[in-house]
């Protein structure tokens, strides 16, 4: 069976679902960040696969993937800085313990 567009899209959906489960179910803030990175990568795979199979000469999907990477890098830098800052103030990064704004 030759690999086609559907294979890449299903791989991307599987990776996105794994990342979604981790982002919703984990308590450690750093692990949640890692799961968000997995989700962004899954979206990138779908983007590049659609660009490769639907419009091979245009490359628009790859350009979008580059912008997603830029935003992911910025998000990782700021997110991890926030996590370290929270750890300095509260000595924990368990999301269940960070409940200052919980009513």
């Amino acid at each position: 069976m030759t690999v086609g567009l559907e294979h890449y899209l299903i791989l991307s959906a599987v990776l996105f679902s794994i990342g979604l489960y981790g982002a919703l179910a984990k308590r450690n803030a750093i692990v949640i960040m890692m799961c968000i990175e997995i989700m962004l990568n899954a979206v990138n795979i779908a983007m590049v696969a659609l660009s490769r199979y639907i419009t091979p000469a245009l490359l628009t999907g790859q350009v979008f993937a580059i912008f997603i990477m830029v935003v992911a890098a910025a998000e990782a830098a700021v997110g991890l800085a926030i996590i370290i800052s929270i750890y300095r103030n509260r000595e924990t990064i368990e999301t269940t313990d960070i409940d200052l704004m919980k009513g």
């Binding site: 890449y8 750093i30 890692m34 490769r52 091979p56 890098a73 830098a77 996590i83 370290i84």
Partner: protein, 162 residues
Amino acid sequence: MGVDIAFWVLAVVGVAAALTVVLLRNVFRTALALILCLVTVAGIYITLSADFLAGVQILVYVGGISILVILAIMLTREVQRGSLSNKFRIPAFLVAVIFLGVMIYTMVSNPWQISAAPPLEPTTSALAGMLLGEGGFILAVEVAAALLLAAILGAIVLVREK
């Protein structure tokens, strides 16, 4: 044929690495599994003949973001407590499975109009034309530069010692 084998190997290793990220208790090993997953995504880009993106993936994710993640793990000493689940584990699993089912149903049933044209290779100069050339994404490139500067300044301000 070789591309097919490469795809299956990369897909299996990538999904296994992603599952390891989610299921393992040790946070540091989780970060190593994440790096493996990012490397396999770079391989997937190569099978899609996106050579420039594969290079960028290795440089930005494997070289940059993974170092940031490991640094954050080292600085927060959460390795001992491990990566535990919260009380939403079963609802989150159900949400993920339902989402996966809907996505796979949509993707398989949609009649994609596959183009028979061969992929562009190499993609670097074509991408440069798209990003910086006439009628391209030059405004978005400028905005991305401003975003990165703001992110760097924000990260420095957030972690600076008072």
